[in-house]
């Protein structure tokens, strides 16, 4: 059974006059036929399926519609067109640090947030200490939430949200919460959940992360679906090249071309690096004022590449 089925999903925002003007102005403009709205399609005809145990990576530059798509997947938004079906208990780690109550204590906020995420009271009673310990907020339990630093707030948000064992885990750039130590800890926690066979959807600007974790990739650009494929390496190569050239691929050949371009670029990069290294070493040897440097170089060559020396000094 598929964990997520996303069929021809489109999401439209209405922008322009509507939100900011208020009722009085709305009526006046309606009366004077001066009322204009613009449509903005955050996502257009996006189709993909995620099977159980899959890890889907969503790539695309800013404003590609990634976060909006995730909102639709989690059920917060109902798409303007198309359907989304999900199977299983879902935990979504969107940017969660907002929405806490500044005038309540850490403890109260933990319970409130837990309740919003659908936990039961018993479950929270049992896990409360664990949550606080994970967020490293033991000393702050009775402090007002507004007294916490923003890093602490994110830590609490993360801890409350990830202490379930969901069937589907949705991550939107959350692997970068808190300071270095906590980032490592939260990353480990995520890996632990994902390795236990959980289905995952990951939005990340780090292509390395996508390559490492995902077995499927969805590429969005300005709301349009560029590709959905399980050839993660190929499409990550192509996407990487796209970031340089800004040329969107029209078909699979283009993707290959982009990927090839990426490989060539990578090779060139490697060659350049080698050259740089050679220059650096040369400089060291040249600048060695005594014979010691030269002797060291010759000795290394004798040991590692005797044939190179033999060629040179035949």
């Amino acid at each position: 059974m598929n964990a997520i089925e996303c069929d021809d999903v489109s999401i439209r925002y209405i922008t322009g006059d509507f939100k900011s003007i208020g009722l009085k102005e709305y009526i006046m403009r309606r009366l004077t036929h001066n009322f204009h709205v613009q449509e903005f399609w955050a996502d257009r005809h996006v189709t993909f399926t995620v099977e159980k145990g899959d890890m889907l990576g969503i790539i695309g530059s800013n404003g590609a519609g990634k976060s909006t798509l995730l909102k639709a997947v989690t059920g917060i938004m109902i798409p303007t067109g198309g359907t989304i079906k999900t199977n299983g208990r879902m935990a979504a780690l969107l940017e969660l640090a907002s929405g806490f109550d500044a005038h309540m204590t850490v403890r109260e906020n933990t319970y409130l947030r837990g309740a919003m995420l659908g936990y039961t009271k018993d479950f929270l009673d049992e896990k409360y200490d664990e949550i606080i310990a994970f967020a490293e907020l033991e000393e702050f339990q009775e402090h007002m939430f507004k007294q916490l630093s923003s890093g602490m707030k994110s830590r609490l948000a993360f801890s409350v949200a990830c202490l379930v064992n969901p069937d589907i885990l949705i991550l939107d750039e959350v692997l970068s919460v808190g300071d270095g130590a906590f980032r490592k800890k939260s990353g480990d926690k995520m890996m632990q959940i994902l390795n236990s066979g959980t289905t995952g959807v990951l939005v990340s600007h780090s292509i390395g992360q996508i390559r490492e974790l995902c077995n499927k990739v969805l590429w969005l650009d300005h709301g349009n679906q560029i590709a959905f494929s399980d050839d993660v390496q190929l499409y990550c190569d192509a996407y990487d090249q796209f970031l340089m050239t800004k040329e969107l691929p029209q078909n699979e050949d283009d993707v290959r071309k982009l990927a090839d371009g990426f490989l060539i670029r990578q090779q060139e990069q490697r060659k350049k690096n080698e050259e740089k290294e050679t220059q650096r070493l040369e400089k060291i040897i040249e600048e060695g004022h005594s014979d010691a440097a030269i002797n060291a170089a010759i000795r290394v060559l004798q040991k590692g590449r005797p044939e190179a020396l033999a060629d040179q000094y035949r």
Binding site: I14, F18, M77, M116
Partner: protein, 263 residues
């Protein structure tokens, strides 16, 4: 279709009972716990209001009215509850926009919890009201047991109106100011501090178009006159409440899914 909706509502309420309890807890704390006066303020505030009105209006309107203080008080607590409950209901969604755009929770819970805390406040002022009744020498009659009726329907009506307003507020931010003006108007049209006795009969009937006035009149008839109003009067109260609840549900059902786009 209706039974299905109710069934789903029941199911959701059971599932979200814990969340609902937490939300009520939060609203309650926001209101009382962080202040020195705490709960006392919600009692003192209507008392002060009443005091001011008494000083200002007793000479003007109250000379020929029996139990003018009770007359005034009955109108005032009902109106206070109505305005508080609908005002808080209106902003309940926008105030929680941060949560609602990140977590998939039933939105009406936020509205209902606001209504519950306003209702608790109303309950407190009703107790004070009865203390005043004793002081003022009101005769306690069995008719008073019927007072649950206007209260229950007012709660339902407030929920309905809260639904409409909170939905509108998501789309139009200036509703807040417009509604405040409307509330002032409603206050004057609800005959809170004056009587209708010297108005022509046709004019008096027009007042029945105001649901709040109808509700207040029920209270006065029971408490001051000691009789239960007619059956038709009961029907009218129920009609208004159901009308607004229906309207609220309609608005909610229709625009519920679009709220997130406008937060």
């Amino acid at each position: 279709m209706l039974s299905k909706t109710i069934e789903r509502f029941n199911f959701n309420m059971k599932k979200n009972a814990f969340l609902f309890q937490q939300l009520i807890n939060r609203d309650f704390q926001q209101r009382y716990k962080r202040t020195v006066l705490g709960m006392a303020w919600s009692v003192l505030s209507p008392l002060f209001q009443l005091l001011v009105m008494m000083v200002v209006f007793s000479r003007l309107f109250g000379r020929n009215v029996d139990h003018y203080v009770i007359y005034l008080f009955a109108g005032n607590i009902t109106w206070s509850y109505y305005s508080e409950s609908t005002n808080n209901g209106m902003s309940s969604l926008m105030n929680n926009a941060g949560v609602l755009s990140k977590i998939n929770v039933p939105k009406y819970l936020f509205l209902l919890s606001q209504n519950v805390s306003a209702l608790i406040n109303y309950g407190l002022t009703i107790i004070i009201f009865f203390v005043f009744c004793i002081v003022d020498g009101i005769k306690f009659t069995p008719a008073m047991f019927m007072l649950w009726y206007p209260v229950a329907w007012l709660v339902i009506m407030n929920v309905g109106i809260g639904m409409v307003l909170s939905a509108l507020y998501v789309f139009f931010r200036d509703i807040q100011y417009l509604y405040r003006i409307f509330l002032t108007l409603l206050n004057y049209l609800s005959a809170i501090f004056y009587t209708l006795d010297h108005f022509p009969a046709a004019m008096q009937r027009l007042y029945l178009l105001n649901p709040l006035y109808v509700n207040i009149k029920y209270w006065r008839t029971v408490v001051i006159d000691g009789v239960v109003p007619s059956l038709g009067f009961h029907a009218l109260i129920a009609f208004y409440a159901l009308l607004f609840l229906g309207l609220g549900c309609f608005f909610y059902k229709k625009y519920n899914h679009r709220f997130v786009y406008y937060f």
